[in-house]
């Protein structure tokens, strides 16, 4: 059976995590898209720490006989891995977007330079034409 103190500590930890995540969302420092996995982590850990019988049952299924709280660690690690994997996909997407943006900026700048050069030349030829008349 899981020691009561571990259950309490784990529940407090989970609630803290949930509160921090909610506060970050409220302050718009965390987008809901990225918060979902963290909220799921907090909720699952909270349920597992409070529902002591359930934790024991799951431990039994998985053949963890001596120390049911190990399931808590396992669940936490699984979620952390999921969050990290999610970050890697986000990072890859951002890298691609970043490359595309840099290319686009460079191509646009080359076009602006070309256009400005063209306009400069036009103005010069205009001056050549109008100057004698003005003088």
């Amino acid at each position: 059976m899981t020691p009561v103190r571990i259950s309490i500590a784990a529940a407090i930890g989970s609630v803290l995590l949930l509160l921090i995540v909610l506060e970050l969302i409220r302050g718009r420092r965390l987008k809901e898209r990225y918060a979902l996995l963290w909220l799921a982590t907090g909720l699952v850990l909270l349920v597992l720490s409070l529902w002591r019988g359930g934790l024991n049952t799951i431990a039994g299924w998985l053949g963890v006989s001596g120390y049911p709280p190990a399931i808590l660690f396992a669940a936490a690690i699984m979620f952390v891995i999921a969050v990290l994997l999610h970050y890697s996909t986000v990072l890859s997407q951002l890298t691609d977007d970043n490359v595309l943006l840099a290319q686009e900026v460079a191509l646009l700048r080359a076009r602006v330079d070309a256009l400005e050069g063209e306009r400069e030349r036009e103005r010069e030829t205009d001056e050549v034409v109008t100057e004698p008349r003005a003088g």
Binding site: A106, L107, A110
Partner: protein, 242 residues
């Protein structure tokens, strides 16, 4: 009407060599426009290229060779060029060899023509052992995957027609891109042709690939090759092969 040709020259911190590369292309054929893609150099690469008469597309920060080359292809596509030739910014590709690349393209025999250092059986190029192993490994692997004899998968000396430009503008591998690009081409049923060319030793700077880095690239590119074959997005092909 003769085709409009653009030379795409990726350059990273090549201020000493880039001017000569641009002038050499212009000396060879003044009708070829040269676009230098400055891959976020901190030296005077852009200034040197502009002074030599090239159009410069200057990337705001270093993106790596693949994305730099792709930028050039996107430029070629946007500006409606019929043919793009790619030469390295360090001067190892000889502009006077360009007719060998352009001729098969003009005859419509291929969509991409690559200058190979190894096609020429009595050819002079003997790279150091480590590099030779890598090149051989990829040549064998790509030949196997593409069911076509490919001898130089690392050559950046290429000429491309419009369908190939369009493909690479849309989708081009990142670092050490030539190997993957070869497979990408064949997946899209574009015709690849290798012709023997001679290349010069590097004039300035050092090769961007050190020993450890080449080991890393060998593993990464091998992985990418197999991923490339299994990849979902590689198959749909908008433009029908001509």
């Amino acid at each position: 009407m003769s085709p409009r040709i653009v030379a795409v020259v990726p350059a990273f911190e090549e201020e000493a060599a880039i001017g000569a590369v641009v002038s050499e292309i212009h000396d060879f054929d003044p009708g070829i426009d040269v676009v230098v893609v400055d891959d976020g150099s901190r030296d005077e690469t852009t200034e040197a290229a502009v002074a030599a008469g090239a159009v410069v597309v200057r990337l705001p920060f270093n993106l790596g060779i693949g994305a730099a080359v792709q930028t050039g292809f996107r430029y070629a596509l946007e500006q409606d060029y019929d043919v793009a030739v790619r030469l390295d910014g360090d001067g190892q590709h000889d502009a006077t060899e360009l007719p060998k690349l352009l001729a098969p393209l003009e005859r419509g025999e291929a969509d991409v023509v690559t200058g190979s250092r190894f096609r020429d059986e009595n050819g002079g190029y003997r790279p150091p052992l480590g590099r030779r192993l890598g090149i051989t490994w990829f040549a064998k692997l790509v030949s196997l995957l593409s069911r076509q004899r490919v001898t130089d998968t690392t050559s950046g000396f290429q000429a491309l027609n419009r369908p190939a430009i369009a493909l690479f503008a849309r989708d081009y591998p990142s670092d050490y891109p030539e190997v993957e690009a070869t497979v990408l081409l064949l997946k899209h049923r574009l015709r690849l042709l290798e012709v023997p060319v001679e290349m010069r030793e590097r004039e300035t700077g050092s090769s961007s690939i050190t020993f450890l880095a080449s080991l890393y690239y060998a593993v990464k590119v091998t992985l990418a090759l197999f991923v490339g074959i299994a990849r979902r997005s590689a198959v749909p092909n908008e433009e029908a092969p001509r």
